[in-house]
Symmetry: C2
Subunit: 156 residues, 2 copies
């Protein structure tokens, strides 16, 4: 059945980030809608942000196109050019390789939600714009490093 | 600027289908949001269906994952299993290679809209479930054939 039963879709919480960054992701959760529907070529997630929550660390992707549509509440997009308010129906696109680091913050007192699509490239590098961190993804395994490529161990 | 100005996004109407099928697509239009945002790995379109309009001929994709979220009004999904009503926030997924032919019909008296995502595979074959038609896409060029692979010229 192609229609996705969102009431049975597991709610994913937590973060794959190393500390101290994982703790900054409190209040964010998501439904893996694309995986629930059997898709493998791109991810489709419904991200839910409690008041004050961040979608991610500000980042950009080397290999993967990303697309966002706000579906509920109000999200503040923060990118290289500043802050931009987005409301339901508003869309934003982040082409692969464009170093415009971005994330979304819920600055309101109500839940905000957005749909996000991202290609599933076999290998990917994401760079975090505001800190000395990047991640290499290879076959589903994530390796966090400093920008010089050495393994991330603890904040320097 | 990653936020897409939907007021400046060209409204695409018409159809690449050969007649008599192109004429069946009246009342359908779309905004190419992904292309407007510079994405190349998958398409993201906001499809608008006037009352009575069809999203497409009922079809399935050999190579490309497809995902739909209804954003406004009510759409009736028709697939191999029957008819299913979908409302804003409802999602459906159609994995590549699954021969569950599908399309959406607006059976209401108000405009209905949905966001649709589809991978951009270099080569693709889509098969139309209810008629003797398929299409081969190669490098952006579409070739319509009968199911036996001969060129489509006119209804037999």
């Amino acid at each position: 059945m192609p229609i996705i039963d969102q009431t049975r879709c597991p709610v994913k919480t937590g973060s794959i980030y190393p500390e101290p960054y994982a703790s900054m992701m409190k209040g964010r959760s998501s439904l893996r809608l694309g995986e629930a529907g059997g898709l493998t070529q791109y991810g489709v997630n419904l991200v839910m942000l409690e008041p004050g929550a961040l979608s991610s660390l500000r980042h950009w992707h080397a290999q993967e196109d990303e697309f966002v549509m706000v579906t509920e509440g109000e999200c503040t997009l923060i990118d290289n050019t500043g802050e931009h308010t987005m409301r339901p129906g508003d869309c934003a696109a982040f082409p692969a390789g464009d170093d415009n680091g971005h994330h979304f913050v819920n600055r309101t007192d109500k839940v905000a939600k957005f749909l996000v699509i991202g290609t599933k490239a076999p290998r990917e590098v994401a760079t975090y714009s505001d800190i000395d961190l990047r991640v290499e993804i290879d076959g589903g395994t994530a390796r966090f490093t400093y920008r010089d490529g050495t393994d991330f161990t603890a904040p320097r």
